[in-house]
Structures are given as C-alpha cells and as structure tokens.
C-alpha cells in the first residue's frame, strides 16, 4: 500500500535535521514505529487508510519532533566527530602502509647473498663500509666473486629519516677496479622494507684486480669505497 502520508510526515520531520548523516537513521526509526502502529490499528479492524491517518496523528507534530531531534544531533559536533573519526582511520591506514608493510617485507625478504650457490663462489669478502648520501645510509656487507666472472656487491640501505626516500637503492655509483677498468654491464636487485637488502652485480670483472672501487659522484654528492680483494676465503 502506498503510504503517502507517512512519507510526507517523515519528510517534514527530516527537514528540521541539519546534520545529514543522521537523517537515514532517524527516518528508519520513525518509519518503523509508524508501520508498527499501522499494523496495530489494522489488527483493531481499521482499514489501511484510516490506520495510516491515526498512526500519524499519534506521532504528534512533525515540526516539534524535528526541532527536538535536531537539538540532539548538533551538526557542529557531528562534523567534528565525523572528521576526527575520518582522520583516525586515515592515519591508521597510512601508518600500516608506511611502517607495517615495509616491516613485514623486511622480515620475509630473502637475503640475496643466498642466491649464489656455494660451489660457484671463487672468493667472498666480508666488509663493513658505511657511506651516507643525504639521509640514506648504505652499508656494504660483502663482495662475492663467482666462477662466471661476476662481481657481486651486497649492501643494505636504510633511511635515517622516516619520511621520503628520494634515493634509488640501486644507484650506488660506478664500479671500478685498481687497473682502471669501469664496469657497466650487470644487474641490480633490491629487496623491500625498512632496511633494504640489495645486490649489484657487474659481469666480466677482471681476475687480476686487487681492489674493487665503488665511486659515487653524482648530483654534488660523493663517496669512494675501496675494498681490497683476494684476501678473503678462497674456494679454488
């Protein structure tokens, strides 16, 4: 049955409610009350039209109800609550994204040094050279020379500042040796997380070289790391 009078009554009440987010809730509650009342009157033997009319009369003055309800739903406080709730959710999501996700990745990310099978290693040198570009710390941990002639440089990098990593973790500079060769060909791997484990590989590294040189000189930032070779454990 069409309940035009009920709709009109509800519309009238809601016209006094200033805070939009409570309108649906109020409408639902009052409508459900009126429907219960209509059912009651119809059980008493009234026809639907009369039942609707009586039910709305029982509700009272829509203006009075609307004004009283509006007092309980102050739009100013309502908005503040809405906004603060929204901000809390926003910051929770943000911190999950910036802290939680890298943390999980750090925990589960593989250490790239395990990618090289032991029997392929010609020699492995442990080192602990730290350099800093802006707010990013790069710590060179190992170099591994393998049977394919590849020189693998392992390093971690992390930011001393929480926000904004402007530095690409695979750009560690030019790879050279003490014989004057510069190596371009190769690959780079970078894990995710707060403390990123990375690998830089250059191919056809000279067997005769005594020193590996990592030279960074870009964008007015400089560092130079020299790692002595052939002093670590040999596997030949």
């Amino acid at each position: 049955m069409p309940l035009d009078k009920v709709d009109k009554f509800l519309e009238n009440v809601l016209s006094y409610i200033k805070f939009p987010f409570v309108k649906d809730d109020i409408k639902f509650e009052l409508e459900s009350h009126i429907l219960d009342r209509i059912n009651y009157y119809m059980e008493q033997g009234y026809d639907s039209e009369k039942a609707e009319e009586l039910s709305i009369k029982d509700m009272g003055d829509p203006k009075e109800i609307g004004i009283l309800l509006n007092k309980q739903h102050n739009p100013f406080l309502g908005w503040i609550l809405k906004i603060t709730n929204g901000m809390v959710i926003f910051f929770v999501i943000l911190s999950i994204y910036f802290v939680g996700v890298p943390l999980v990745i750090s925990i589960f990310s593989r250490n790239p040094i395990k990618d090289i099978p032991k029997e392929n290693i010609v020699y492995k040198i442990d080192t602990d050279e730290k350099v800093k570009i802006d707010d990013t710390v790069i710590r060179f941990t190992n170099v591994v020379y393998d049977k394919n002639g590849d020189m693998n440089i392992f390093y971690e990098c992390y930011d001393t500042k929480f926000w904004g990593r402007g530095w690409s973790s695979s750009a560690i500079g030019d790879i050279m040796d003490d014989l004057g060769n510069t190596y371009f060909a190769g690959s780079a791997y970078s894990g995710g997380g707060i403390r990123t484990k990375c690998k830089r590989t250059v191919s056809d590294f000279s067997k005769e070289a005594d020193t590996l040189i990592i030279n960074y000189d870009y964008y007015n930032r400089k560092y130079r790391v020299e790692i002595p070779l052939k002093v670590g454990d040999t596997n030949e």
């Binding site: 509650e29 009052l30 459900s32 009272g60 003055d61 109800i65 009283l68």
Partner: protein, 119 residues
C-alpha cells in the same frame, strides 16, 4: 484511572520520562514502539503521549551515555533499533527512583496525611 483522561503528554520531555524509560529498559532491551506500547498498557492508557517525542528523549539518553542502540530483527522480521541500558544508565535510574520516591512521598504527605504515607 476510572475514565479520567489525564493529559501527560506535555511532560514527556521533562519530569519522570527518563525514570519511566530507563525502568522499562532495565527489564529488557526494547525499541521505541515497544516502549510506547508498554507505557500505554501499564498505565492503562493514562500516559497517552505524542509518540514521536519519545525519540528526541531516547537520542538524548544515548548522547548522555545512559543507553546504547543497536539494530536487530524484531517480530515480523523487520529491523528495529533497539535500546539497551548502560551501566551509567543504571546508576542514573537509581538516582531518578530515589528522587521520585522522595517526591511522591512528600506529595502524599501533603494531600492525604498519614493515609498515603508509605508504611
């Protein structure tokens, strides 16, 4: 009530309304229409109020933390907004009852002397 038509509806917002509503909610969780029906039945229709004005009172009670609301299916399978008294609401109810007892005792003493005074 012997056919006396008492017009209580004006007093719905103030006075004993909070006491009546909280008492009914102390027994069980109820939705608005149930509260109205219960008031009607128990007061022999003496409390025939403008039903719509119940809701501003319920919303105020909720804002004050005396009741909480939740949606659930009532009879006939339709969703209803139920109200549930909180711990704070129960404390308030005890206070309201106390106030009411003092008030009614005092009124009875004035209008009926010893006869109406509680034993």
């Amino acid at each position: 009530m012997g056919g006396v038509n008492v017009d209580f509806d004006k007093g719905l917002i103030g006075g004993s309304t909070v006491l009546l509503i909280l008492s009914l909610l102390e027994e069980t969780d109820r939705y608005g229409y149930e509260i109205i029906r219960e008031l009607e039945l128990r007061s022999d229709k003496a409390f025939q109020l403008k039903e719509g004005t119940l809701y501003p009172v319920l919303h105020k009670l909720e804002n004050d933390g005396y009741v909480e609301s939740y949606k659930a299916k009532g009879d006939r399978g339709r969703d209803r907004k139920y109200y549930k008294i909180t711990r704070k609401g129960k404390k308030q109810l005890a206070k309201e009852k106390e106030k009411w007892n003092i008030f009614s005792m005092s009124v009875n003493k004035v209008i009926g002397g010893e006869l109406y005074a509680p034993r």
